[in-house]
Structures are given as C-alpha cells and as structure tokens.
C-alpha cells in the first residue's frame, strides 16, 4: 500500500482532509503530534522543533542556522522511520519537501482559496478583515521563503505534486474521495525499488541527524548499509573530522560502511571549532 503526503496553504484544511482520507483508507496518521516524540528521542525542546518548521534561521529569533538544520534533520529522521511502515497519511511536517523520488508516495497540494474563512480569522484574532487578509498573505510568503531556504524547493510550485486540488471549486469530502481514488493507481503502489529508495533515505536521515548534532556542512547518501558523507573541512582539521564522522555514523544501527568525502573549507582554517 501507499503513502499520501498532504500539504496546503492552510494548516486547518490540511488536517481536515488528511483526517478524512485516513478514515476512508484506514491509514495511519503522521502529523505534528510526533514532534513530542522527536523532542524526547533527540532531547530537544518541542517548542524549538515547531519553531524550526515555521521560521528561517535568525540570530535575532534565537534560532541559529546550525541548530535549525539539526532540528529539521531530527524531524526528517523520525518521519522517514515512520514512513517505512507504510499505509500512512502524512501532513504538517513538511515531508512533501524532503521525501523525494519515492514512487509509492503520492503528494497532494490543497489550495484552500475560499476554504480559509477570513472573517473567522479576523474574529479570532480581533482584527479587521483587511488586516486578516494581509496576515494570511504574509504567512504564505513566509512559508514559501521557508521552503526555499530549507529544501531549495518552492512549495507553491504545482509541479512538485502528483495531485493539486482547488478547494474553492471542490468541496472537502469530494477532495478526500479524489485523493483516495488517485492513490489506488498502480503507479503509487510500492515496489522493491521504491521501498529500497525509502529505506536508503531513512538511513541517510538518521546519520544526518546524528552528525548535525555536532557538525555543519554535512550531506549524507545511503545505499543499503553503506553511507557516503560529504562535508567541508580545512586541511588542518580534515583527518580529525573524517575520524569523528566515521565514529558517529558507524555507530548507527544499520550502517556497515562509512565513506567520507571532504572539500576544503578555507573559512574554517582560521577558526578553533573544527566542525
């Protein structure tokens, strides 16, 4: 069976449709409720994880880039770990941006349009309708910027998705039916290749999360139990960094071989911190 990842310009709509689809398909749910587990597993403040999913790094917001990348990597690792179990509807974790190249993952984008009740938002926040409209427009702009900064992908680009539904024209129940029908297509069914790709991404994400805890400039690829880590280091620190990466990555369950490729980093030549 398949995996459905739902994203939208409205968190509320995302959750409503995901819930309908999960009920109709009898699929498991994977939403932001897992952030408490991520926080516990990686010993991170859950508030920081939520913040990382909404804001771009900034020293003023007490979210340095290095921590931000690490928080996101922990979320990715946890999401991948759960996606390996299949039959899942996932939303609210930006998985549509980092779960890529998996043929049995169907990505859906919901355009809320009139589905977002501006009046209700204005009332809830005690602001004018005009102000609420501006607030929503700012939110959308901010999230597009976030997706570009975090994953170099524009989440508003329809070509990133297998199915785009405009809720201004299609009602939520019909949208859920459309999604459940589409995921039945054979092309979204798992196969040996797609399952292998997913488990490779899951292992790479686990290694990435471990390394980003203490390092920066890390990219990880995995194939079966072999892992390739791409990083940057000064000539002075190169050997030490390779050894540290091999030790940390080699310690992770499922990793049998670690290869490290280092590019010269001139900027760190002058610093004390090797990572």
């Amino acid at each position: 069976m398949s995996i459905i990842i739902i994203s939208s310009d409205s968190e509320e709509i995302e959750e409503i449709i995901a819930e309908k689809v999960a009920v109709a398909m009898d699929y498991n749910r994977l939403g932001s409720q897992i952030l408490t587990d991520v926080a516990a597993n990686y010993q991170i403040d859950p508030v920081k994880l939520s913040e990382a999913l909404e804001t771009t790094p900034s020293v003023f917001k007490n979210m340095p880039s290095r921590h931000w990348r690490h928080y996101l990597s922990c979320i990715e690792a946890e999401v991948f770990d759960r996606l390996l179990k299949d039959n899942i509807v996932c939303w609210g974790l930006s998985a549509h941006l980092f779960v890529t190249g998996i043929s049995h993952v169907m990505k859906v984008r919901l355009l809320s349009g009139g589905g977002r009740n501006i009046g209700k938002i204005a009332e809830q926040k005690g602001i004018t309708v005009g102000r609420a409209e501006k607030l929503i427009a700012d939110e959308l702009r901010q999230h597009k910027k976030w997706s570009l900064t975090a994953y170099n992908l524009d989440e508003t680009d329809p070509s990133q998705y297998d199915l785009v539904i405009n809720l201004e024209q299609i009602d939520p129940t019909e949208a859920a039916i459309t999604i459940t029908n589409a995921v039945e297509y054979r092309k979204f069914q798992p196969m040996t290749y797609s399952i292998k790709c997913l488990s490779n991404l899951a292992l790479a994400a686990k290694v990435n999360a471990r390394l980003l805890e203490s390092m920066v400039n890390i990219k990880v690829q995995a194939r079966d139990s072999s892992v390739v880590v791409l990083t940057k280091a000064s000539n002075r620190q190169k050997r030490k960094k390779i050894a540290a990466i091999k030790e940390l990555a080699g310690d992770i369950e499922g990793v049998s071989y670690v290869e490290v490729h280092v590019k010269k980093n001139i900027l760190t030549d002058a610093t004390e911190n090797p990572y």
Binding site: G101, I102, S103, Y185, R186, K187, F188, Q189, M191, T192, Y193, S194, K196, C197
Partner: protein, 134 residues
C-alpha cells in the same frame, strides 16, 4: 515433485545472466538466459514462461516493449524489470503498465529470489526459499 517455475532472464550484459541463473536454479527455477531481446521475444512466442525478468535499456528493443509483447501473448506471465537506470518516473510508468515488480541494479541475488517467490505465490505455485543451499 511439482513442476519447476519457468523463467526467462533477459539482459544484454552476459554477466547478469551468468550470475543470476545459478541463484534461481537453487530455488527450483528452470531458467533460460538471453542477451538479445529479439531472440528472447522469439522464444517467448514459442513458450509460455511463468516469469520474465528483463533489463530495460537494450539496443534492439527496450524492456517495456518486451513487457508489452509478453502481456499480449501470455497475460498470466509475471514480468520483473531490472535496471541500472532506475528513476521514479520510469518505475511509475512500468508499474502503471502492469509489471509485477521493479528493482534497481546492482542487487543481491537473494533480492531477486524474494521477488520471484512473491511472483510464484501470485501465480499459485509457491516456492520455499528456506530450502536454498548456498
């Protein structure tokens, strides 16, 4: 003793057939190997195989064309694609057309044996992988 599973293995790289045939023999398959898709298709015209394992990228005919040919002639036959050029779009296209499974090269012989076992199960002629003697 039950009838062996008839398998046609097509890959233009000779080493693939040489390496995989013994692995499939061990699970009781009767394997015929081909390097030319034209010759493989001619053989398919003569005989109904239970399973066809084919590469995708080949000179005279690609694996999906071989699949179309098999489906037209023997709808019951399960087709498994093996390829060194696996990509999501190709995997989806192959799946949509009706292939049984898709696996990226390189893979371990046991990976293919697992797929063959599932195909055998789907054909109603299950095989017992625990009997393999390596």
């Amino acid at each position: 003793m039950s009838k062996p599973l008839e398998v046609l293995l097509l890959d233009d790289e000779p080493i693939v057939g040489r390496r995989l045939k013994p692995a499939l023999d061990k699970i009781g398959c009767h394997v015929e190997i081909f390097e030319s898709p034209i010759e493989a298709v001619a053989r398919i015209d003569q005989k109904e195989f239970d399973i066809v394992v084919t590469d995708i990228r080949m000179e005279e005919m690609n694996g999906l064309q071989v699949f179309e040919h098999v489906k037209k002639k023997w709808p019951r036959t399960k087709v498994i694609i093996i390829t060194g050029y696996a990509k999501m779009d190709l995997a989806r296209e192959a799946m949509e057309k009706g292939i049984f499974d898709f696996i990226a090269k390189p893979f371990r012989p046991d990976d293919l044996r697992q797929i063959i076992a599932r195909a055998a199960q789907a054909l109603g002629t299950p095989i017992d992988l625990s009997l393999i003697k390596d």
